[in-house]
């Protein structure tokens, strides 16, 4: 029996887990649900040993343990099956199952391959997979690889006496329904040997397979329900967050967009990620895209900036059809991008504020074909003043500035480049409350200026508060479309129903 007792975890000022307590009894399948940012993945990472909690205890059969690393968690019977699969595709299935655990198969310093293959075959049989363990993992399809990972997790029982707990992180998002049925069938049969923690955004599936379900919200466990007798809408209601503060998102400054379309998508799709996306983005409009990881929204934003060219459908910018194959083309089309990984894709950390501000439109700082440093600094200083960026000077390198100021510099860059369409990818991630409010002010100002914005955000609240229109995506398709005019915003529940 695995018990988590009052576990908390913070990342800087962000409180990811708030005194979480759950238990997983032998032979049980426990479901875990919650929207983005609810704390599910943090909890999983702590349970699997890749992260330590700030406080609280984890106990196995009543004895507290401190899980030092993944291998130690394995020794305690806990194994995780990842969403992004963690098999070595260049190596045979048997090698993957026995990786770093080959000692039982050694004789005189040499591996006995036949023994390894036979043992692997037995492990594969546990999950009902009848394949040759000598073939490379890369030659299998997703479903089979998922099963191999499960077999690898189950192989733990040979190496430890501790009760086996298997953590499954969104195992079904990449499977077809027939494979999901097989997976669930296996899981039920395997409860004789192990208990499971099943994390998913597909509430219907969670209810189908689990014995009990925990609901998380804002880092805490808010409910525990038996699966039998609970309904999806009950779970939805428990997942929804706190009430919107209209003032926080400057709702009063939200003005209706202008009618002129600047970005149109028809049947837009990227094979394997999303499909049939239609929308029309107008001047000054803020379009939000809501969805959990795996819904396709992350890939959609990447497609709109040329990182991931579409495989189907059309995209029109200002009426002209385009296929954006590189970010360079997107910039040329007048699109700007504020990335979620600010320190990697946003700013060149070791360059100055001034250099970063002009990076997308260097021509503006050039005269007679060479860079005019004085002019560049003047442009930067102008933004520093207008956006109240806190930095000693325009020549300061960006590495040491705070997150909020860094974000403003990124925005300044696209404003310098006069982008009339901006993609904001999680723009307030990692910012404190004050910095977030400044970003909201800027969004309103840009929108009033006629800049069209596509916004993906970490929280439903923020999406609802800031946007004129919201698209909800799930499993690669748009499942809902909402108008969100000032004063008549949809509720989080309405959105959530289409997300999970």
């Amino acid at each position: 029996m695995l018990t988590v007792d009052q576990v908390s975890k913070s990342f800087g000022i962000v409180r990811a887990l708030e005194r979480v307590s759950i238990s997983i009894r032998p032979h049980e399948i426990v479901g875990l649900i919650g929207e983005n940012g609810a704390g599910k993945s943090t909890l999983m990472r702590i349970l699997s040993g890749s992260m330590r909690p700030d406080s609280g205890t984890i106990s196995i059969d009543g004895k507290p343990v401190v899980l030092r690393n993944t291998r130690h968690a394995n020794e305690n019977g806990i194994a995780m099956v990842f969403q992004e699969q963690s098999l070595l595709l260049n190596m045979p299935v048997a090698d993957n199952i026995h990786l770093a655990q080959e000692r039982p198969f050694m004789r005189l310093g040499l591996l006995r391959r036949q023994r390894m293959l036979d043992a692997a075959r037995q492990h594969l049989a546990k999950v009902g997979l009848d394949i040759d363990p000598a073939i490379k993992a890369g030659e299998l399809d997703f479903a089979a690889r998922q099963m191999v990972e499960l077999a690898k997790a189950l192989a733990l029982e040979e190496r430890t006496d501790a009760p086996l707990t298997i953590l499954l992180d969104e195992p079904t998002s990449v499977l077809e329904s027939r494979d999901i049925a097989i997976l669930f069938d296996r899981m039920r049969a395997l409860t004789a040997r192990a208990s499971f923690l099943f994390v998913s955004h597909r509430l219907d599936e969670v209810l189908e397979i689990s014995d009990r379900v925990y609901v998380m919200k804002d880092g805490a466990v808010v409910a525990e329900r038996p699966a039998r007798g609970s309904t999806v809408s009950e779970l939805h209601a428990m997942m929804v967050g706190r009430e919107l503060h209209a003032e926080y998102y400057r709702e009063g400054r939200q003005v209706p967009p202008q009618p002129e379309p600047v970005l149109e998508a028809r049947g837009l799709g990227v094979r394997g990620a999303f499909r049939d996306v239609d929308f029309t983005l107008r001047r000054g409009e803020v379009l939000g895209i809501a969805g959990v990881i795996g819904s396709g929204r992350e890939e959609l934003t990447r497609t709109l900036f040329g990182f991931l060219p579409q495989t189907d459908g059309t995209l029109r910018v200002d009426g002209r059809e385009v296929v954006l194959r590189t970010p360079m083309q997107a910039v040329a089309a007048g699109i700007g991008y504020i990335p979620r990984e600010r320190r990697v894709e946003g700013l060149v950390m070791d360059l100055s504020v001034a250099a970063n501000v002009t990076l997308a439109s260097l021509g503006i700082a050039m005269r007679h074909g060479i860079i005019d440093h004085a002019r560049e600094r003047a442009i930067a200083r102008d933004w520093i003043q207008r956006l109240r960026i806190r930095t000693p000077s325009a020549a300061q390198i960006c590495r040491n500035l705070s997150g909020g100021n860094q974000q403003k510099i990124v925005l300044a860059r696209w404003m310098t480049a006069r982008s009339h369409i901006m993609i904001l990818d999680h723009p307030t991630r990692g910012l404190d409350v004050g910095a977030k409010e400044e970003v909201y002010d800027l969004v309103r100002a840009l929108s009033a200026d006629g800049v069209a914005i596509v916004l993906t955000s970490d929280t439903l609240e923020e999406t609802i508060g800031l946007c004129h229109t919201i698209l909800v995506m799930r499993d690669g398709a748009i499942t809902g479309r909402f108008d969100a005019p000032a004063g008549a915003k949809p509720s989080q529940l309405q959105l959530l129903e289409h997300m999970v």
Binding site: P327, M328, P339, V344, E345, G346, V348, L351, L359, I371
Partner: protein
């Protein structure tokens, strides 16, 4: 992300001093050798050192651009040797035109290396190892392994390299000086300079700002090729001949000049100015060691070790997630 700890006082001091380390090192070396051999710091000795540094510096300027982008060019010595042969062959037929033409050839070959690296997605050291091999092969083929002498007419035309027109300062130093200034201007005032620094310091961010990373990488390799070719031309002029192994033993000092000067192989940090200091250091050490009687091959031992040390100090490990 856990909150960053306050750096210790010593770590802070190291951080401040680090950018100036090469210059301090240079001064220390000059002082050291002057004390050991008082005849050292005279004009003619300095002139010899600067002449040696000049050639190295021309090669290292091109290499600086490549290293700042995070790549490396292992073909410089092959390119320089190849160019020495090309210019020696062309001089009798084309006269003065042979010089710019050879540099142009170097530019084109360098661009080829860059193309192979970028478009075929081959890592730069393999791409340049390959193109270097091709050039060595071509050099050997040209005269069946033999060298080509530059005859009187050609020598007369080479005085722009071998002469000393300006106050008796050897022309080669002036040429290197011009290349230095050109490189610094390029870096500070052109799109190429700004973009290649950005790409080296943060390639994903540069790409996400709409910069054509491929194009600027190819330009950097083209420049490196051109500088290597210029180096070959200078060598050929000085030695009055071109041969397939003329520039042997120059690869290591070239890389050392860039890295010891403070340009990080992880890219971004660094400049042509730093390479000037680096080239001076390397030359000082080379000449100094010869002065003191250390044989040229033993110098290699010193340089090899110094190279590794310099890299270990200047590298930014945060940039490379997995060190392969």
């Amino acid at each position: 992300m856990p909150a960053a700890e306050r750096p210790l006082a010593t770590a802070e001091i190291v951080q401040r001093v680090r950018p100036f380390a090469p210059v301090l090192l240079l001064l220390a070396i000059v002082l050291g050798i002057s004390i050991a051999e008082p005849g050292f710091a005279r004009f003619n000795i300095l002139s010899v050192i600067l002449s040696d540094a000049s050639l190295l510096f021309v090669l290292a300027t091109g290499m600086t651009f490549v290293i700042m982008l995070g790549g490396i060019d292992l073909s410089v010595q092959a390119a320089a040797s190849f160019s020495s042969m090309v210019v020696a062959e062309l001089l009798p037929h084309l006269g003065y035109l042979a010089f710019p033409l050879t540099v142009l050839v170097g530019l084109v070959v360098g661009f080829g290396s860059g193309f192979v690296h970028v478009k075929l997605r081959i890592s730069s050291f393999v791409a340049t190892l390959a193109t270097g091999g091709i050039m060595t092969g071509l050099s050997l083929l040209m005269e069946d392994g033999r060298s080509v002498s530059i005859l009187d007419a050609g020598r007369a035309q080479s005085t722009w390299v071998t002469g000393a027109w300006l106050f008796n300062i050897p022309n080669i130093i002036v040429i290197a000086g011009l290349v230095a200034i050109g490189g610094m201007l390029l870096q500070r005032y052109t799109r190429f300079g700004r973009y290649s620094t950005a790409i080296g310091a943060g390639e994903p961010a540069a790409r996400a700002a709409g910069i054509s990373v491929d194009r600027y990488k190819m330009i950097a390799f083209a420049l490196s090729g051109a500088c290597a070719a210029l180096g070959g031309v200078l060598l050929a002029a000085r030695l009055a001949s071109g041969s397939p192994d003329l520039a042997n033993q120059l690869l290591l000092p070239t890389i050392a000049a860039v890295v010891v000067g403070g340009t990080a192989i992880t890219g971004g940090i660094g400049s042509v100015g730093r390479t000037v200091v680096g080239a001076l250091i390397v030359s000082m050490v080379r000449i100094g060691m010869t002065f003191v009687g250390v044989n040229i091959f033993a110098q290699q031992i010193v340089f090899g070790a110094a190279l590794v040390l310099a890299v270990a100090i200047t590298i930014d490990r945060g940039k490379i997630a997995i060190i392969k």
